[in-house]
């Protein structure tokens, strides 16, 4: 099954009530799959007139208390940013998938990780955070749909799957476990006001500065709680590692190979794969910085996650970056090459 299809099937199994989206390569399979599979199940699937419209449909339906999802690729996600900011401000749960392609601009339909900053730092206007999950296999494309929906509901916050064109398009075996969506009470939803309660309204508007600040501080608290409880990552051969590679998504798969190649040569390399890009696995990186010599991030962009790794280790070890761009994918050997060079020069110092 293709990564995009795995995501779509998982959405159905996770009890997604509605999907709103607009075609864009390399993720159109999600909309196509759901257009075929959702109506017979009494779910709503709608091809909107634009990504601007689809994210605002998400806002309306999520506000009415439904489990909803949209997906797109980089240019489309850019168009959604205003809406995502409103959703975060109004604290509505929903799932957004970005099958990242290379940019800027129209760029290319080949995979990229250039949307890391956009995804993890907010993306739209104002102070807000998304829960960002980075799958590195087709299996995880499915698993993180379940996880994303649950976390979104748990925190009343938009969650994002940040994937890329390679994982979206690649075919792998997927198993769907028995997933039971948690039932979340949504007493705040706009379902029509019965006499038994006050009216509900969904808004991100707090015109009085004191009120908005209070609201923002509440959001900050929520994000803090996410950082305390929701960090997820994978460690590969870090126990005795002297050098740490840090990579997510497709790059993490490639770096796993690099780890093996390096170990064959007797170089003690480990890999940290952040699974949640927000909240970022700062603690483990900071701990590993105490007992390693160097960290190297590998990304398909001009160096974005490297900044978060630097912040995490706070100068304890040198943090370097290696990457390819424009839809080019690094190979395990060139990463090892880069690492070996860095080791040489760092020993020279």
């Amino acid at each position: 099954m293709k990564g995009n299809e795995a995501m779509a099937e998982a959405a159905i199994q996770a009890g997604c009530d509605a999907y709103f989206g607009y075609p864009i390569t390399p993720q159109s399979e999600v909309l196509e799959y759901l257009a075929r599979e959702m109506p017979a199940r009494g779910r709503v699937v709608l091809q909107a007139e634009s990504e601007v419209a689809s994210i605002n449909m998400i806002y309306g339906a999520a506000g009415a208390g439904f489990r909803v999802m949209t997906s797109s690729s980089s240019p489309g996600i850019s168009l959604m940013q205003e809406g995502i900011s409103y959703i975060a401000g109004a604290e509505l749960p929903c799932l957004i998938a970005n099958v990242n392609r290379a940019g800027p601009g129209l760029g290319t339909i080949q995979p990229g990780q250039g949307d890391y900053f956009q995804a993890t730092k907010g993306g739209g206007h104002g102070d807000y955070k998304l829960i960002v999950l980075a799958p590195s296999s087709v299996q995880e494309m499915a698993d993180f749909v379940f996880l994303g929906f649950e976390l979104a509901d748990k925190y009343r916050n938009p969650a994002m799957i940040l994937s890329d064109g390679a994982i979206g398009q690649m075919m792998e075996k997927v198993t769907f476990g028995k997933f039971k969506p948690t039932k979340f009470d949504k007493p705040w939803a706009t379902t029509g006001k019965p006499p038994t309660r006050e009216r509900n309204f969904i808004t991100s508007l707090h015109i009085k500065p004191e009120m908005l600040e209070k609201n923002n501080l509440r959001l900050v608290e929520k994000y803090k709680k996410m950082r305390e409880t929701e960090v997820r990552y994978e460690e590969i051969e870090t126990d005795d590692a002297e050098y740490i590679l840090v990579a997510y998504g497709l790059c993490a798969r490639i770096c796993h190979k690099t780890v093996n190649l390096a170990r064959e040569k007797g170089i003690k390399v480990g890999l940290v794969r952040p699974i949640t890009l927000y909240p970022f696995p700062e603690k483990i990186l900071s701990e590993l910085a105490n007992k390693t010599r160097l960290m190297l991030t590998v990304e398909m962009n001009a160096g974005q996650m490297v900044e978060d790794v630097k912040l995490s280790v706070n100068g304890k070890v040198p943090v370097e970056y290696y990457g390819r761009m424009g839809g080019m994918i690094p190979n395990p050997e060139e990463i090892l090459n880069k690492l070996e060079n860095l080791i040489k020069t760092s020993h020279a110092i």
Partner: protein
């Protein structure tokens, strides 16, 4: 909007004076008792929240809010109605309407309403949008919602200006009309002519009922109320979008007194934006509605 309030707030004398109960403290007063000698024939709709509104004096927004809530009251659909408030002067509509409501980003009300209605097709959903919101930044969402025949009511408040952001030119600003961004008057050779949205969308098969009304006199207010009532009723039929354009005013940014704006609506606005029904439901479509009654 003084004039029609007077006519609507008529109070009828009860003829049966003997049976009228006069409160103790008023019995000795020289003023005639008015509390119980009159029958209430008009009052604030129950679903209109009893707070003072932020609108400028004489602004049509408040009056139209009241008409919408009267319609919701009369149809008894408070529990089943979800409104979508715009970004525009009516951004606080949810402070005044005692129903569940959703704010929408500027221009996106029809997309938000689509999200709500597609998942709750049996509820009544309406948007309330200004001309900047609907006819400029939100054209795509509006047009496509109507083209899909979303069973929603779109209330389009056309005051020919961006009220909230203090009086810039709108897509509906009249030719030659002065605004802060057309200080020499709208130059149609540069900006084109004001958009007649109702006429533009009426031919779409998804549009079920399209009408243009105003609220600058008592008769017009009654007609607008009737249009809103019908538009809500039609939603039950699931036959398409109802679009009620209302020619409003903006005393603050038209730089006129409220009374002058009422005259401007008559003299200028409705000359370019003629009032009346632009698309009426067909008789056979309404059959179900009558049987339902």
């Amino acid at each position: 909007m003084q004039s029609e309030e007077h006519t609507l707030v008529e109070e009828k004398l009860i003829t049966d004076k003997e049976n009228a109960v006069v409160p103790e403290d008023l019995k000795t007063a020289e003023m005639p008792c008015i509390t119980d000698e009159y029958e209430i024939v008009y009052q604030r709709p129950k679903t209109l929240v009893d707070v003072s509104m932020h609108y400028c004096p004489g602004c049509a927004h408040s009056l139209v809010h009241k008409l919408i809530m009267e319609a919701i009251d009369e149809l008894g659909i408070q529990e089943q109605t979800i409104g979508v408030a715009p970004v525009g002067c009516a951004v606080f509509a949810y402070d005044y309407m005692d129903i569940d409501m959703s704010e929408a980003a500027h221009g996106r009300a029809c997309a938000v309403a689509t999200g709500i209605k597609k998942l709750m097709p049996d509820k009544y959903v309406f948007t309330y949008q200004g001309d900047g919101d609907l006819a400029a930044i939100g054209v795509a969402e509006t047009l496509h919602a109507i083209n899909r025949g979303e069973n929603i009511l779109i209330v389009f408040m056309n005051n020919a200006v961006y009220g909230m952001t203090s009086g810039q030119m709108a897509p509906t600003t009249l030719a030659g009309m002065k605004t802060t961004t057309s200080p020499y008057g709208r130059d149609t050779s540069f900006y084109g002519f004001p958009i007649k949205v109702s006429e533009l969308i009426a031919p779409l098969p998804g549009a079920f009922y399209v009408t243009r009304q105003t609220v600058n006199n008592a008769t017009a207010v009654r007609k607008t109320k009737k249009a809103l009532l019908n538009a809500f009723r039609y939603q039950k039929l699931k036959k398409g979008t109802c679009f009620v354009e209302i020619i409003g005013n903006c005393p603050s940014n038209w730089k006129m007194t409220p009374v002058e704006t009422l005259k401007f609506v008559d003299d200028e606005m409705i000359k370019y934006f003629p009032l009346g029904d632009i698309k009426l439901p067909k008789g056979e479509d309404l059959k179900n509605l009558q049987e339902d009654k």
